[in-house]
Structures are given as structure tokens and as C-alpha cells.
Symmetry: C2
Subunit: 201 residues, 2 copies
DNA sequence: TACATTTGCTTAACGGTGTTAGATTATTTA
DNA sequence: TAAATAATCTAACACCGTTAAGCAAATGTA
């Protein structure tokens, strides 16, 4: 009767296999090439069984988005914990964000809709809150004046995020577009420092 | 024998009708919903005749991209010519860019691949150069030191662009996401001023 | 005017997509 | 062993972009 668990484990394994197959296709052929039949091919099933594990294609994308946020959150957390001063924390965290985007292009595209048809419902994703929360806390600690209003944090958060996301987007959509890696790093660090400085002015 | 011209004019009209229909569908239903058959329906033809006017769907998108850049270039030119000092020019131009993105969401999504599968070949588009050129010139005039290297201009150009494009992207992909219009405007102007100030420091 | 040719447009099809319903096979239970 | 349940597949639907073949009307030519 212990076979119940074995079967459940097997079901979970194929669920994971589906996600891995999807990711594999995306990494080698891009999001455009991802199709239910291709996933089925790769896991040696036919397309309809995927619907026993995910309600539809968007369900797969949502789960991958979740996976992406888990990796990102881990990276950012680690970057934060490697430094002492808020200034250093902030720079390290945003650089971790930057590195994540290029180390996991596909995830980033899925998570932030760069050059990607975004799945309609991905609001209220707990994993996403985490990232925002961590960054927000460090931003708060950058302020000298207390208390810091939510609007203050929100504004600076968006300022940081905008420039980094913008720079990433531009580079993901237009690779090899006359901007070198060094130039990007320079822009990035300059911008981070500029925003950080502007907080207490 | 003057009918030749009438016929040519008619052909041009249906070409325009195709583009208008495409834009209309996109504006009411989004890029996702744009299909050749829907365009054909709207102009009261069948799908294959579209291929007499455009080589394929990407051809239509490319032409719409061109249209978008024409509008954007006009807006930015006008913003520039309304002011005297480079600082004011710069701010006005980027705000025009910002306003364009939200006044013509669909165009912006198409042109800059926000939440949109980008058509593969849209390099070397003369209309795009214009926009970059205009902005680049004003950026150059912001520098006190002369001569200004291309790298200097390029870097500041990307810094401006990144933050604005990033802010736009975030707002286009996540509308109603707790950021108000005033907050966005504040972030935007702050960021522009910050970058402009940092040029001669 | 009569025929031939070109033009405009449609129908039908190909191979692809996401998704669902029904049939089939294999496994478990009684 | 027989019945019930689970796992899986086949077939189909409605859509997509795109192409080929054919029809019908307009045009050019004799």
C-alpha cells in the first residue's frame, strides 16, 4: 500500500519533467518556439496529458515565473548579506539583479515581460513581494531622516528599478547594439550611486 | 487612360486601409489579437489579398513601426524647438518621449518590444536614427567640456533612455500597480534632472 | 465584335498552434 | 476472474500564417 506515495512521487516527477522540458525548449529555441506538443514530445507523452498537471499553457508559464522569483530572491538575499553598509548592500543587490537578468535571460523575460507576451494573471505572486520587500528595506535604511514614508521608499524603489530594468530591457531586446559590457556596468554603477546620493539631498 | 492613376490610388488606399485596420484591432483588442484574417474581415476582403500589399505579417508590423517613429520624431522635434536652453530642451524632449509612450501605447510596445513579440528584423530603420540623433545633439550641448566624445554622449544617452524606458515598461506591463501618475512624473523629472546635473560633475 | 490576356479576388489547403471529448488500454480493486 | 478505475492516446475543433490553384471580371488586341 506504500505504492500510493510512489505514484504520487512519480506524478510529481513528470510535473517537474514538464517544467524542465519547457525551460529547455525556451533556452535553446526561445519563448516563441515553446509549444505544448513540443513539451509533450520531449517528455515522451502526447500533449493532452500536460493538462493533467497544468490547467493550461499559462499555468506552466506561471510556475516558471515562480521558479524565477525564487532564484532571484535567493541571489538578492545573498548579495545583501555579504555587505554591511546600506550603500554597499544597495549596489550589490542591484548588481545581483542585473546579473540574474543575464544569467537567466529566459526567466527575466518571462518575469518582466521583455520581448515576451506576458501571461495575463500574474498578480499577487508571493515570491515577487519578497524581492520588493528586501529592496525596500535597504532603501529605507538609506534615508537619514526618520520616519521614512512609504511614498519615499516607493519612489526611490521605482527610480532604481526603472533604470536597471530599462538598461536590461534595452540590452535584451537589442543585443550587440553598440554598447559594451563595460559601458553598461559603468552606466549601471553610476546610476545606482547617483540615486543613492540623491536620497539625502 | 487616366484610370491608371485612379487604380494606383485605389491600391494605395487599400494598403492604408490594411494598416488602419491592423492598428484599430490592436488598439481595441491588443497585439495578441491581431491576425491576418481579422484584418481581412475588417477591410471586407479575404486574407490572401493582404499578401499583395505586404510580404507577410512582419511587413505590416514594420510599416506600423515606421509610422510610430514618424510620430515620435515629430513630437520630440516640437518639444525641442519650444525651448532655448539645453537643459530645458532635454527635459521637454524626454517628457515628450514619455507622453508618446502612453498616448500611443501600441506603437511604443511595437517599437520597443515591451510585452510584445518583436519582429526579427527592424534594424537600420532610418526613422529611428532621427530620434537618436536629435537627443544625442542636445546631450552633446549639455557638456561644458569640449570636445565631447561619442562614448560620453552614448553613455548619457543610454542613461537617460534606460530610466525612461524602464519606467515606461514597468507602467505598461503593470498598469495600476500602486504608482500614481504624479509619482511617475516626479520620478521622471527627478531622474532627468539628476542625470543632467551629473553630466558636468 | 471576338478572342486572348491580364488582374482581382476567392476557395482550399498545408502545417502549425492551444485545448477538449471520447475511446482505448493498462492497472488496481473486489 | 470480473468490475472499476486510472492513465494515456486518437481525433477533433477552432484558430493561426501562408501558399497554390482556380474563377470571374476587366482589359488589351485582332
Amino acid at each position: 500500500m506504500g505504492s500510493k506515495e510512489r505514484i504520487l512521487r512519480l506524478k510529481d516527477e513528470t510535473r517537474t519533467k514538464i517544467l524542465d522540458a519547457a525551460l529547455n525548449i525556451v533556452q535553446t529555441e526561445g519563448w516563441q518556439a515553446l509549444s505544448m506538443r513540443k513539451i509533450a514530445d520531449q517528455i515522451e507523452y502526447t500533449a493532452p496529458i500536460i493538462y493533467e498537471y497544468f490547467s493550461n499553457k499559462d499555468g506552466i508559464l506561471l510556475e516558471l515565473t515562480r521558479r524565477g522569483y525564487l532564484i532571484l530572491a535567493k541571489d538578492i538575499r545573498e548579495a545583501r548579506d555579504k555587505h554591511e553598509s546600506p550603500e554597499e548592500k544597495m549596489e550589490a543587490m542591484w548588481i545581483a539583479y542585473w546579473n540574474f537578468a543575464f544569467a537567466h535571460k529566459e526567466f527575466y523575460q518571462l518575469m518582466y515581460g521583455v520581448d515576451m507576451v506576458c501571461c495575463t494573471v500574474k498578480n499577487s505572486l508571493p515570491e515577487a513581494e519578497n524581492v520588493g520587500g528586501m529592496l525596500g528595506e535597504v532603501i529605507e535604511s538609506l534615508f537619514k531622516k526618520k520616519p521614512v514614508s512609504d511614498d519615499d521608499i516607493c519612489m526611490k524603489y521605482y527610480t532604481y528599478w526603472s533604470i536597471i530594468h530599462g538598461l536590461i530591457s534595452i540590452n535584451l531586446v537589442r543585443p550587440n547594439g553598440r554598447t559594451t559590457d563595460e559601458l553598461n556596468q559603468q552606466i549601471l554603477k553610476d546610476a545606482i550611486k547617483g540615486i543613492t546620493l540623491s536620497i539625502n539631498n
